[in-house]
Symmetry: none
Subunit: 217 residues, 4 copies
C-alpha cells in the first residue's frame, strides 16, 4: 500500500472521446480475429481497450455495430482511394491487374484486416445482418472495382471477351484463399514446412491468370 504512488499513474477515469472509438475498434479487430466474433466477449474488448464494459456500449450500441465499425474502418474506407487510383492508372491492363492484386494483399491481406474475410465467412449464417452488411460494404464494391479492370482490358482488346460477372471470381478466389490460409489453416503450426509464401503465390497466380485472360497474339 505505497503512499508514494508515482504521479505518472494514469487516473482511473480519462476523458478521450475522440480517441476511444478508434481504440475500441482496434481492440475488437484483434480479438475478433483471434477468437471469432461470437467467442469474443464484449467485456474483453473493453478491457483490451483499457475502458470499462459500459464505455464500450457508449460508443457502439451492440456487438454487431462494433463489428460493422471494424469492417468500415478497416476495409470499406479503402475503396475510395483505390477506385481513384484505378481510374487514373496509366499502364497496361495486365500491369493494372497485377498491381491491384498486389495492393490487395499489401493493404488488406497481409494486415490484420485480412482476417475479416475468415470472420465473415465463419459467422455469416449466424449473423445475417453482418453478412448483408459485408456484401454491401465490401463484396459489391470490391467486385465492381475488379470488373472495371477486366472491362478496361476487354475494351482495349488486351483481355478475352468473357462473362465478366464470372471472370472476377478468377481474381477473387486466389486472394480469398490466401487470406483464409493465413488466418486459418496456415496459422496452425501443423502444416510445418509448407509455409505459404504470399508473394510467390500471388506472382504465380497472376502469371497464370493473365496468361489465361489475355487475347492470344
Amino acid at each position: 500500500m505505497p503512499t508514494s504512488a508515482p504521479e505518472t499513474s494514469l487516473p482511473r477515469r480519462t476523458r478521450r472521446k475522440e480517441t476511444r472509438p478508434g481504440e475500441l475498434i482496434e481492440a475488437a479487430l484483434n480479438l475478433f480475429i483471434e477468437k471469432g466474433f461470437a467467442a469474443t466477449k464484449s467485456e474483453e474488448v473493453a478491457q483490451r481497450a483499457g475502458v470499462s464494459k459500459g464505455t464500450l456500449f457508449l460508443y457502439f450500441a451492440t456487438k454487431e455495430d462494433l463489428f460493422k465499425a471494424v469492417v468500415r474502418e478497416n476495409i470499406s474506407s479503402l475503396f475510395p482511394s483505390w477506385n481513384e487510383e484505378m481510374e487514373s492508372f496509366a499502364g497496361s491492363c495486365s500491369d493494372m491487374l497485377a498491381y491491384a492484386m498486389t495492393s490487395w494483399w499489401e493493404r488488406v491481406g497481409q494486415t490484420k484486416a485480412g482476417g475479416i474475410a475468415k470472420l465473415v465467412i465463419s459467422e455469416a449464417q449466424n449473423f445475417p445482418d453482418i453478412a448483408a452488411f459485408y456484401q454491401q460494404e465490401v463484396i459489391t464494391p470490391g467486385t465492381l472495382l475488379l470488373k472495371k479492370i477486366l472491362q478496361r482490358g476487354v475494351d482495349r482488346h488486351e483481355f478475352r471477351d468473357l462473362d465478366l460477372d464470372q471472370a472476377v471470381f478468377t481474381l477473387v478466389a486466389p486472394m480469398i484463399f490466401l487470406m483464409l490460409w493465413k488466418n486459418s489453416m496456415g496459422a496452425c503450426a501443423s502444416s510445418a514446412g509448407e509455409v505459404m509464401n504470399p508473394a510467390q503465390f500471388i506472382a504465380l497466380q497472376v502469371d497464370v491468370l493473365l496468361n489465361g485472360l489475355k487475347v492470344k497474339a
Copy 2:
C-alpha cells in the same frame, strides 16, 4: 425381458448400441454445417438423432469431442479410387484437369462433405488437432493428386513448366472459394439475384486456367 425371443428374428426393439454414435455424428454433421459449431445446441443434436440430451453425453464427453468425431468421421478418403481413376486416365491433360475439377465438385463440393471445409476453416484455430488431421488426410493427398495431374501435363509438354507446388493452388483456390460460398455467404438470402451457378463458375475457371497453364502453340 422375454428370454424366449427367437435369436434368429430381428428383435423388434433393435439393439442400437452400436449404431448410436453414428446416428449422433450424422445429426451433428448436418447441424454443424447448417449453423456452425458454436451455434449448434447439443440438445438439437440429440433430438435430431432421436435420443435424449443425456445420451449424447454418454457417447461424447463434451461438445468438442463430438465435433472432432464428426470431422474425423467425415473426412473419408476418396483418394484411393480417385488416384486410381487418374492413373488410368487416357485423354489429354486438359481433359483430365477439367474432369478432376468437375468430379471434385460433384463428389465433394456439392455434397455435405463440401461443408466440412468451411467447418474446418472456421474452427481450425480452436481445434488445432482437427486442423492437423485435415491437413494430413485431405489437403496433403489432395494436393498431391492435383500435382500429379499438372506434372503429367508438364511431362507431355501440354502445360507450362511452372513451380507446381504453387501452381496447384491455382486449382485449389477456386474450388475452396466455391465450396465456401455455397456454405457461407451464398446461404444468406442477402446476395440477391447474384446466385452463383457452380457449373458455369467451374467452366469459366477451368477455361481461364487451362488457357493460362497451357504451353502456347
Copy 3:
C-alpha cells in the same frame, strides 16, 4: 464437515416436474405483489421456489410468460365456475348482485390474487403485452359476467334500464378501489386507525348501488 450428515437432508437435485410450475407461480405471485413486476428478479423467484435460476426458465420462457401464468392460475381460472354459478342462480337480481360482489372479494380481493389488479395497473404502460393479456383474460370476461347480471335485472324489471356498458363500472369501481386500497395505500401503516373494513365497505356500496339501480316502486 460432519460426515454424519442426516439422511433426511434433501438432495440438492429433486425431480418434481409436476409440482414445479405451481411452486414457481406461487413464489412469483408473492414476489410480484410484494415488489412489483419489474422490481422482482427472476433469480429471487427461483430461489423462493427452492430451485435454481435455470429451472425457472425451463418452465417459463420469459418473465412475462411467468406473469401471465400467475394471472391465469389465480384469476382466469375462476371464471368458468363463476359463470356457471351465475347462470344457475335462483334468487332475485339484487341478491345475485350482492352475492357476486361478496364472492369477488372473498375469492379474489382478499386473497393474494387481489394484488394483481394493482400490479397490472402499475405496469400496464411499460408492458403492453401484459395489459392486453389482462384485458382479454380478466377484464373482458369479468365485465361480461357483471353485465349479464345487470341485464337479468333489467329483463326482470328489477333494475332500471341503463346503458349497461357504463353501468358495470358502477360495480367495478368500488371493488377495484378496495383491492387497490388493500394493496397500496392501506398497506402503509401511515393511515393509522382508518383501517378499511372490507365487509362494511362492500355492504354499504351494495346497499347504495342497489338502491340506485333498482326500479322505484
Copy 4:
C-alpha cells in the same frame, strides 16, 4: 463576465439557478406519469429539462429524491378554494354533489395531477413517506370535503342517514377508478374501441349514486 451589464435589463443568459429544480421537477412529473418511476431514465429527465445528466444529480441526490420532490410539489392543495366554494353553495345537495364530482374531474382528473394518483398508488409501498404525505395532504382533506357534502344532504333530509365514513367511498371509488383507467389500462391501445368517455361515465355514476343516496319520496 461583463460587469457593466445593467442590472435592470434581463440578462440574456438568464440566471436559472433558482428555476432549475422546478424545471427538472416539471420534466420528471411528465415522464413519471407517462412511464412510471422505474421506467423513467434520469438522462431523459435531464434532457427534457434541457440540462445535462450531471446537473440533475446536483439538485437531487438520487432518483428517489427526485420522485419525492415531484410528488410533494404537485400535490398542491386545491382544497381551500374548494372548501370555500362548497360552503357558499346555494343549490340542492344533489346538485352540489354532481358539481363536486364534475369539478374533481375537470380540475384534477383530466389534468396531469390525475396521473399523480396512479403514481402514488403504484409506488406507495416503495415510498411510505410519500404515501403518508399523500394521505395527509390529499386523502384526508378530500374525504373531509366530500363528507361535508353528504352531511349537508343528511341534515337537509335529502340523503339517507348512512355511515358517512363509508359512504364517501361511494364517491371516491368511481373517480379514482376513472383516473386510474385514464392513466393506465386506458392508455394502452389494447382496449380496442372501448374507449372510456369520462363525461358519460361520471354522468351515469352520479345518476346511480344520487338515486341510491337520496331519501325515497
